[in-house]
Structures are given as C-alpha cells and as structure tokens.
C-alpha cells in the first residue's frame, strides 16, 4: 500500500455526473438485495429453514406411518386420518418459522449492531424508501422460497402418508392451506423484521419473535376453553395467521376467524408494528 493517494485520481479522470443505470426505487431494491445476499447469516438461516421445515414434515409423517395402528388406535392416527395437512404442516411450520424470524430480525438489527445503518442512511437519507425497499426485497425473496418449501413439504409429507392416508392438493382447501403455509411463513418473517425495526437489538428482537411464534401458542393451549379466551387468543399473530394453513379447524379457534380473515389479522399486526417502526426510524437518531 503506497503512502500517497493514487496519482491517477483527479477530476480529469473521473466523471462529474456518473451515468445512472436505473432510477429510484429499483436502485434501492438492488442495493437491499446485495446487502441480504452478501452475508453468511442469510445463507445459513435459509439452509436451516429448508432443512427444518421439510425435514420435520418428513420426520413427523414418517413417525406417524411407522407406528400406524389404525384409526381406532389413538388420537394421533385419528388426527392423521381426518386432518393429514395438520400432520404435514403442524410441527414443521412452527419450527421452520423460527429460522425466518431470526433472518427477519437480522436483516434490520444487524444494520444497527454493525453500524452499517449509518452507511445505509448516508447513501439513502430518505429513510422510509430504504425501509420499503428492504421490506419488498425480503418479502419477495423469502416469499418465493417459502412457497417452494411449503409445496415441497406437502409433497414429501403426503407421499410418506400415502400408504395409510390419501391427501392431495385437489382435496377441499388443501391447495389454499399449502399456498397459505408459504404466505404465513413470509408474513411471519416480516413480523419479526418489524420487531427488529422497533427494538434495533438482535438478541431482544429474536427473543420476542420466538416468544410470539413458539411460546405464546403453547401457553395459549393451557388457557381455559371459554369464548372470551378463544377470542383473545384467536387474534394473536400466530394463532390468527396459522388459520390460513389449517384445513380442519379444531378447538375454539374455529369459531373466531376464517382462514383468510385470520391471515388478514396477522397482516394487520405486521402493518401496525411496521408503521410504528417506520415512524420511529424517521424520528430517531440513527
């Protein structure tokens, strides 16, 4: 490394107004795509997402088939026979969503933890367009992968179950549930991103996202099965959102929200949290 600036650097050899290759929002999306693809955490969380989601679908359906005792044998087999998509998606989606939650949080919180947010905002001082580009790029990239994973899980799970239970996309509501699984995973990732935007702290935001995605549903199951509780719980992000991947609603949830209503409620959660986050992003010192 020389101790003097490169001699070649002078106004004569540089462009005063460099050419613009693409304008406005497209530029920002391109930059956000570069950001998201150029860190290893993205690769690792997405590999884990695919392995966990498809892997647990295979594991759970295989365990079910391997221990098959017929419809009269117990609740597990009865459930598999009456609601096979719940066996295919149930555990796998609940675990797979956690990896997307980690990625959703990291996409925004790592900018703060590493300080790259300062570089980002120097380049794009209008903060809301930068946030919008980040949301769109994340949603498109994760959405595509989540749909692929949802359909892969369905085909793997239904193939393994096939010897005992037949389920196909053409069955009532199954296509909606499979598409819905991908949509739900994507929007839950955005939910985590909104939490990250609000908290700006990786560990805290991941903890909150996992609590909402995993701990709250378990705790909710312990609550008394009354109409009041069912209505409160039914509007929580995960409980509402997962209605879209449910073919045969069970318990109190059934009476609260339909599939698309539930998904809509999750989307409202995300929009509200993201809006508060956007307001704070605009107001706070970076």
């Amino acid at each position: 490394m020389s101790a003097t600036p490169a001699a070649s650097y002078s106004p004569a050899t540089t462009q005063r107004q460099p050419p613009t290759r693409n304008a406005g929002f497209g530029r920002l999306m391109q930059a956000e795509w570069t950001k998201i693809r150029s860190v290893r955490s993205t690769t690792w969380t997405l590999i884990m997402f695919v392995i966990i989601t498809v892997g647990f679908t295979a594991l759970i359906t295989w365990v079910t088939v391997a221990n098959w005792n017929g419809p009269q044998a117990g609740p597990r087999d009865i459930r598999a026979a009456t609601d096979p998509t719940a066996v295919i998606f149930g555990v796998a989606i609940y675990l797979g969503q956690l990896t997307l939650a980690v990625l959703g949080v990291l996409v925004i919180s790592s900018e703060y933890s590493t300080g790259v947010i300062r570089a980002s905002l120097l380049a794009v001082p209008k903060r809301l367009p930068m946030l919008a580009a980040k949301i769109v790029v994340f949603a498109l990239a994760i959405g595509l992968l989540a749909e692929i994973v949802a359909f892969a899980s369905f085909y793997v799970g239904s193939a393994i179950l096939h010897s005992h239970v037949h389920v196909a996309l053409s069955d009532p509501n199954v296509l909606r549930a499979t598409l819905g699984a991908g949509l739900y995973l994507t929007v839950f990732g955005l939910f985590a991103m909104a939490v990250g935007l609000l908290m700006r702290h990786t560990a805290g935001a991941i903890s909150v996202s996992i609590a909402v995605g995993f701990v709250v549903p378990i705790l909710a199951g312990l609550l008394p099965d009354t109409s009041l509780w069912n209505h409160i719980v039914g509007y929580l992000p995960v409980q509402a959102g997962t209605t879209v991947l449910t073919v045969h609603p069970t318990g109190g949830d059934a009476v609260v929200l339909s599939a698309w209503q539930g998904f809509g409620v999750l989307c409202i959660w995300v929009v509200v949290l993201m809006s508060i986050g956007a307001y704070l992003l605009e107001r706070r010192d970076a």
Binding site: T4, Y9, P11, R27, K35, T114, V116, A119, A123
Partner: protein, 322 residues
C-alpha cells in the same frame, strides 16, 4: 460549501451542540477542533442527517443532506464509528452503496484501487486491521467522487504511515477544489494539515479563522535568550518595560551548569529590541529565539473554560510536568 446556522442538539438535559454557526469553504482543509465531548461528532452527524437537530439548519451546497438527490455524489463521509458489516466483503459493502446511487460496479473497483484495498476486496471486513478499515471508509467516502468531504477523526489509531496517507490525501483533495471538513482532538495534527480551523467547546463556537491566526492568538509569545550575563541583561530588559525570568528548561537553570550559558525567557519585548539592548551594553548573546505559541497552547487557552474535566486541570498539569 457547508453552512451551519444556529444548529442545536440536545440529548436529554445535556446540550451537545449549542446554537452553532460556521461555514466551511471549498479549496482548503478545514480542521474541526475541540476537546473530547465538545460536540464535533454530533455536529457532523447533524450535517449528514443521521441525527435529528432540535433547532437550526445545516446545508451542503445549499441543500439539507436529506434533500440531496444522490447524496454520495455530492458528499463523502468517513465517520468515527465503524459502519461496515463485519461479515460482508469490502467489495459488496461498496457495491450496495454504489447501487443506491446508480453508480456502475466499475466505480467500486476504482475506489478500491485508490485506497489500495484491491487485493483484499473479496475478504470479509471483520478481519481488517484498523488501518484497512479506515481505508475502506475513505473508499466509501470517495465512491461518488464528491465535492464535499467530512472526515471524523480519520487518523485515530492509525500508524504513522496511515496518518501520512490520510494527511496527503486530504491536501490533495483540497487542492482539487473540494470542501474538506476534518475533525480531530489532536491539535498538532491539525496544525500541519488544516488551513483553516473551527474550534468548538461544549457545543459552542470558540474560534473560526485561519490556522496561523489561531496560533498567533495564543498569548505568552516570548523570546528565548541565552547569555553568560543574565543579571545584566535582566536589568536592561526590565528598564525597557519587558520581563525576564530564568527559564526552567534544559540545563539553563540560571547557574550555568553543564557548560552552557543560562537561558532567560523574555516577554513583553520583541527579539529585535532585545538584541539592540544587548548590543548597546556589550552583553554577549549565545541565542535569541522568538518562541511561537503552538497550536496546542492556543487550543488549551481557547478551550480552558469548556473542558468537561476542568477541575482536573491542575492534576493534569502536574502529571504532564513529570
């Protein structure tokens, strides 16, 4: 051109920047000087739109930072705090910045070349040394070939080679007619780098003038005189309205030890007058040196009231005298 008018920023009860106004002109290096905690970094962050001001304005070429259409083509900034993802390569860091401005990827390679990081462009920045990180920061600042540069403590923690590199780069860029504002708490670094100084303390403007003028403002201009006959010369000087004291420095402690003539520190008379006095009375002089106040002296004098740890001044002086 950077114009700051009445800029104010509070963090809770603490006023970090207090109705600060100054202008940074193109074509020269302007040093931004102040003790730690004076508000230099906050002022720069306000100019760059990273922090939200409580009052006043900061404009670059007449526009607030957020209104610049493609800001990196107008302004380059090197912040004191690290602002790269340690897991991302230098090239990808610069690439996403270039993409936000619609700059071609080839521009990334030319700035990597400029700062001498081409060989490590694909390496993750987490493994970079302080100096390499600083070079990457300069590369990011130069990405859009901007007319205005803000550098916050650019030489902090650099080795002498790195310090020299930054210093030469700044002078070179100022020579091209760019506007350069560089902050530092190192007075002597500014003395050799900056043509013009903005001195602040506790968020307030203390001085904004040419570096030489700031130095000249420092009181205690004195003349160092070495003579074998200090008593006679002291009489002459006192009679002429000056003051002479035996200098405590070196071996000239007033008794001529070590084979050298004693040294006097004379104030209140110019060197020429002292020479005339000595000649008229036949006093031999071995040395007659006007002592310029250093920028450090001027700086300490300017900021004496604004140091956050003002009460420790006496202790600090004791400590530094040892």
């Amino acid at each position: 051109m950077i114009e700051v008018r009445d800029l104010t920023k509070r963090f809770g009860d603490k006023v970090a920047v207090d109705h600060l106004s100054f202008t940074v002109e193109p074509g020269r290096v302007t040093g931004f000087l102040g003790p730690n905690g004076a508000g230099k970094s906050t002022t720069m962050r306000l100019i760059l739109g990273l922090d939200r001001a409580n009052g006043g304005t900061a404009t670059i070429n007449g526009l607030p930072y957020a209104r610049l259409p493609r800001p990196l083509l107008t302004v380059g900034a090197l912040l004191e705090a690290r602002s790269v993802h340690t897991g991302r390569s230098a090239r990808n860091h610069l690439l996403f910045l270039a993409q936000t401005q619609g700059l071609p990827a080839s521009r990334v390679d030319s700035v990597l070349e400029l700062v001498g990081l081409r060989d490590v462009a694909g390496k993750r920045t987490g493994g970079f040394s302080l100096g390499m990180g600083q070079r990457l920061g300069v590369a990011a600042a130069m990405l859009g070939d901007p007319q205005v540069l803000l550098l916050d403590e650019p030489v902090n923690g650099l080795d002498p080679e790195g310090v020299l590199w930054i210093r030469n780069l700044m002078k070179h860029l100022a020579g091209e007619g760019r506007t350069i504002l560089v902050s530092s708490h190192l007075m002597n670094e500014m003395a050799v780098t900056a043509d013009h100084l903005i001195v602040i303390g506790r968020g307030r403007l203390l001085a904004a003038e040419a570096t030489d003028d700031v130095i000249a403002r420092g009181s205690g201009q004195s003349v160092r005189v070495r003579t074998p006959d200090p008593d006679r010369l002291t009489e002459l000087i006192t009679a002429d309205g000056g003051a002479a004291t035996a200098a405590a420095d070196g071996n000239g402690n007033g008794n001529g030890s070590g084979g050298h003539a004693p040294v006097l520190t004379v104030t209140g008379l110019p060197a020429a007058r002292i020479g005339e006095l000595a000649a008229s009375s036949g006093v031999v002089l071995h040395e007659l040196t006007p002592q310029l106040a250093t920028l450090e002296d001027a700086f300490l004098e300017l900021t004496a009231d604004s140091l956050e740890y003002g009460h420790l001044d006496a202790d600090a002086a004791d400590w530094s005298a040892q």
